[in-house]
């Protein structure tokens, strides 16, 4: 389970870095506990973009009302994990 979460964290970081064109950071060095809004500077349209690529990747729906809760990569990974488990 822990290994799965770590893989998910790395993949989410890759998507954020690629889609938001973040520089000076890699998926491996991305701090999964950074606050995406306050420390990375992403906003709602960025979050919607990331959510669409996560929808593609993990075949889950991300409620628009849930964006405010998705404050770090680790929390997003846990959210995806919960969604996938509830879909099984």
């Amino acid at each position: 389970m822990s290994n799965d979460i770590n893989q998910t964290i790395t993949r989410i970081a890759e998507i954020i870095i690629n889609e938001l064109k973040l520089e000076d950071v890699t998926a491996e060095t991305f701090d999964a506990d950074l606050d995406l809004v306050n420390e990375v500077g992403i906003d709602s349209m960025d979050m919607a973009t990331v959510a669409l690529f996560l929808r593609d990747e993990y075949e889950i729906q991300i409620d628009e009302d849930d964006y405010p809760k998705l404050t770090t990569v680790r929390i997003i990974a846990q959210y995806i994990d919960n969604k996938r488990n509830s879909n099984e």
């Binding site: 809004v37 979050m47 669409l52 628009e64």
Partner: protein, 350 residues
């Protein structure tokens, strides 16, 4: 009935035409807006004006350029990248608008167009039109409005005329659009949205909404170089449901979240440089259940990108809306050809 095809987002944007528009639009996702009432005075008094409703009209005017500059510096520091200067009439305080422009270079000014705003303030200028000159005389008590507005902004690429549809000026929109087209101006459409407690006759009815929809459709088809609008704009703004019911408004007044998006960053400053989260939206004191305002839609519909990314047609409709919003509000952004000619139903608001 065939099962509805499920599209991946990456498949939708793999279409080269959609992809080009998506990349064009997403470059502006950095915009973070707030709005500012610049003066509590106006040189005309229109029936149904949102400014002279509620408490904000009684806020004292602060005319100190230094105080306003300080406010805009702090707004920039807060992450605001786009300003909307409105109420009551910003052209009466050009020095304050200039102070803003020096600090935050992207924005728009809502004006009645009777007093020209200096060219150095290179924001989009939204000039309000409420019908032909006879109707304007009746509702706004000002003669020859369109003639004077056009003269003040002839050949001015900042200008967009904003035609507000009421139940009584629908047919006149053709005459006004024709005149504006002949003079090389641009027009976009707004819907009268009743202020809280409004009991006048300008509130739209199902019949006036349907008639407005038909007129907008005809004008968009007949004047594609003049009208900045899209079929999806028409759908969103002439629906019997208002924008909040269709899309869940994201402005603080209706959105308790302060974590991300407009709920976090949007403020609506009054003339005394104060703001109140409970009242903060783009057109304060509008009755939310009747809100079809163009400024509201620009934020509320655009923010709902995720739910529109279900299939190429629905996403194209959303792209048309976002493309229209940027062309209307951002200087230098050129509207592309609409991608979706069909009237697409808004995705469910759940």
């Amino acid at each position: 009935m065939a099962a509805q095809q499920k599209y991946k987002f990456s498949d939708i944007i793999a279409d080269p035409i959609i992809n080009e528009r998506w990349e064009k639009v997403r470059r502006y996702f950095f915009l973070r807006e707030s709005t500012y009432d610049m003066s509590n005075r106006c040189n005309i008094r229109c029936d149904g004006c949102y400014y002279f409703v509620g408490e904000k009209q009684f806020a004292e005017e602060n005319n100190s350029e230094s105080d306003w500059r300080q406010l805009f510096l702090s707004e920039k520091e807060r992450g605001i990248t786009f300003v909307v200067l409105a109420g009551a009439e910003p052209s009466l305080v050009p020095q304050l608008c200039a102070a803003c422009y020096e600090v935050i270079p992207l924005g728009a000014i809502a004006t009645n167009g009777l007093k020209p705003i200096p060219k150095e303030i290179d924001y989009r200028i939204h000039i309000s039109v409420w019908g032909n000159d006879q109707t304007s005389q009746a509702i706004r008590k000002a003669p020859n409005m369109l003639t004077r507005q056009m003269a003040n902004y002839q050949g001015d690429a900042r200008a967009v005329f904003v035609y507000t549809f009421t139940p009584f000026n629908i047919d006149e929109a053709r005459e006004v659009t024709e005149i504006l087209a002949a003079h090389g101006h641009k027009i976009t459409f707004n819907m009268f949205s009743a202020p809280v407690g409004y009991d006048g006759s300008l509130r739209h009815t199902p019949q006036s909404l349907a008639k407005t929809r038909m007129m907008m459709r005809e004008l968009l088809a007949d004047y594609p170089q003049t009208v900045l609008f899209s079929p999806y704009n028409i759908v969103a703004h002439t629906n019997e449901k208002g924008l909040h019911d269709l899309f869940s408004c994201t402005y603080p007044r209706m959105n308790p979240s302060t974590d991300i998006g407009l709920g976090r960053s949007f403020r609506q400053y009054r003339t005394d440089l104060q703001w109140n989260r409970d009242a903060a939206c783009c057109v304060p004191d509008t009755d939310c259940s009747d809100c079809r305002h163009y400024a509201a839609g620009s934020a509320v519909v655009t923010a709902r990108m995720y739910r529109h990314a279900t299939d190429p047609v629905t996403f194209s409709a959303w792209l048309d809306y976002a493309d229209t919003y940027l062309a209307v509000w951002v200087r230098g952004y050129e509207k592309g050809q609409n991608l979706c000619p069909a009237f697409v139903n808004p995705p469910p608001n759940d």
